[in-house]
């Protein structure tokens, strides 16, 4: 009987011919990392184990991006702890503010993600990297501390769910809309601890960065990983050849799936998720006209150059609504620089947006644009849980960069066609 791509990558990293869902195996990890928020506990646990050296200073990264530039003295101390460890261990991949970005997006730029790799690290949205045909599994700090020390971890082989997205996406419909619909269909824990595999014409036609958005939000369905098999466009995006360490695994035609869902791409509407869960997704018409105080375009789900080009196209020559704060949050320094070179930053500032330093920005509600009581935000970042971006009575809606752009101009949730 055949294997899924997820099963194959696990088998390849555990020295087994094949593995079955439910099995518990030990796997070698190709790259791991922690951040300024999950790092301090990982470092503490590493030391409590009595470990003194990481297993490989080129394969352990530390990426400050959550509470930096230092939010306050306490956050500065967390950042110090992480910085000191990086220096002490001689880590190749530590990037200071000014050269930094969100870990998973940085990892793509740094070439530490390749098709067939197994990556386990402490960011729940690590699932994003499955867009490269890699197995990317989010874990917590203690698990990552163990990987820091040994370069391996234990895994329960997940069941695989197959999402077949046929046909072509409609105008104004993006990978973001697809995922919000999928999470609506299966629920917030709908793929809990499973592998979400995305196939079909619409997926094959998606540019790699759109596949990243797809896999990013697998985390919101509780998945262990999201994955799209690598192809030529994947290699082109990474700037590598087929012999540069990539392993182009694909699921066997007779691989077994615990669940299969077929979706017709042209049926997917422009979608917005209302408070307080990604699964609370609706065609935009249901929530259009809702007044917003803040709009965010950026972060790990939609913070790449493609997203900013779309935003700039809509904003050019226009102004952000008078009562709205629009925050642009590049995922990495390289994205910021590219946007600058393309004249996009000028467009954003002239429109009245605030361009934030690369990182997570306001997504987690710790700094860089926290909401006030009762305030409403429309964001391209992935979460709208209760109290996510501000006090418990603040309200967060999720949407694509196109929806965010239109909404920033009008000041209310707006269909992109209205501002075309």
């Amino acid at each position: 009987m055949g294997n899924t791509i997820t099963e194959k990558i696990i088998a390849a990293h555990s020295g087994k011919d094949s593995v079955r869902p439910g099995e518990i195996v030990t796997v070698k990890v190709d790259f791991t990392m922690s951040t300024d928020s999950t790092g301090p506990l990982a470092i503490e646990q590493f030391r409590r184990m009595g470990a003194t050296r990481v297993f490989d200073p080129e394969l352990v990264g530390l990426f400050p991006a959550r509470r930096v530039p230092n939010k306050d003295i306490a956050s500065a101390m967390l950042a110090q702890k992480v910085r000191q460890f990086a220096m002490e261990q001689g880590l190749k991949h530590y990037y200071e503010v000014g050269r930094n970005g969100i870990d998973l997006n940085m990892m793509v730029e740094l070439g530490v993600v390749k098709p067939g790799y197994l990556i386990a690290a402490s960011n729940s949205h690590l699932t994003t990297l499955g867009a490269f045909g890699a197995l990317a599994i989010p874990m917590g700090s203690t698990d990552v501390a163990y990987i820091f020390a040994f370069g391996e971890t234990w895994l329960r082989v997940p069941e695989s769910y197959r999402f077949v997205i046929n046909g072509l996406l409609g105008e104004y419909v993006t990978a973001k809309d697809v995922m919000l619909q999928i999470i609506k269909m299966i629920g917030d824990g709908g793929a809990r601890a499973c592998a979400m595999e995305f196939v079909g014409e619409a997926v094959e036609k998606m540019p790699v960065d759109e596949r990243m958005t797809l896999c990013n939000m697998a985390a919101e369905a509780g998945a262990k990983n999201g994955i799209v098999a690598a192809d030529d466009s994947t290699l082109e995006y990474l700037g590598i050849g087929p012999d540069d360490g990539a392993r182009m695994f694909r699921s066997d035609p007779d691989a077994r799936y615990a669940r299969e869902l077929a979706i017709e791409a042209s049926d997917i509407p422009v979608t917005v998720s209302a408070p307080h869960a990604p699964s609370n997704a609706h065609p935009i018409e249901s929530v259009a006209g809702t007044k917003v105080d803040q709009v965010v375009v950026g972060g790990c789900t939609n913070g790449l150059i493609r997203d900013f080009r779309l935003l700039a196209k809509t904003l050019k020559g226009r102004k952000v609504a008078r009562t709205v704060r629009l925050f642009v949050v590049p995922a990495t320094t390289a994205v910021y620089l590219e946007a600058l070179r393309e004249g996009l930053i000028e467009t954003f500032i002239e429109a009245g947006a605030a361009v934030l330093p690369p990182g997570c920005g306001p997504c987690g509600g710790s700094h860089m644009g926290v909401l006030g009581p009762g305030e409403v935000c429309l964001t391209t970042t992935p979460r709208n849980f209760p109290g996510r971006m501000g006090p418990r009575d603040s309200q967060v809606y999720l949407g694509s960069p196109l929806v965010a752009a239109a909404t920033a101009i009008t000041g209310v949730i707006t269909h992109p066609a209205e501002v075309a």
């Binding site: 509470r67 698990d143 824990g189 601890a193 262990k224 849980f385």
Partner: protein, 172 residues
Amino acid sequence: MAIEGNVFKFGSNITTDQIIPARYLQNQDPKHLAEHCLEDADPTFAQRVRPGDVVVGEDNFGHGSSRETAAVAVKAAGVACIVARSFGRIFFRNCLNQGLPCLVCPDAVENARDGAKIKVDLSTGEIEIAGSVYRAEPMPEFMRQLLESGGLVEYGRRRLEAEKGGGGLPKV
């Protein structure tokens, strides 16, 4: 090991954001985290919980962000164990690593009212509520061994000791 306390009942999809909001995460001291435990699900929880109490959730308890500080917060608040229909996978592993038992028992969840008295026997997985006894799903063997042998940090510590001595611990 016997647990005896009161039930604090929650719904489905309680997120780790609700368990410990990011606005408190500049200070990762367990005592500080305990003070804000579950604040965005029930702002009164941290003041009312007592050591030995049991948190009961419906589906997918501990969904979302990988923050292990959520497990730290619940443990530091004195919660003896969590019983739910299912758990977010990262949260489940984090609780394992923090020595906070997570039991899957839909029948117990169904019959657990907020404020009810509850007894849990971790060695048998038996949960007693209002005179009825339910049995939690047994944890996979490897995870149970990990928990019983002192958790992942202890496992790692022993492995490093063994490797220094030239040997190696048997692996999974």
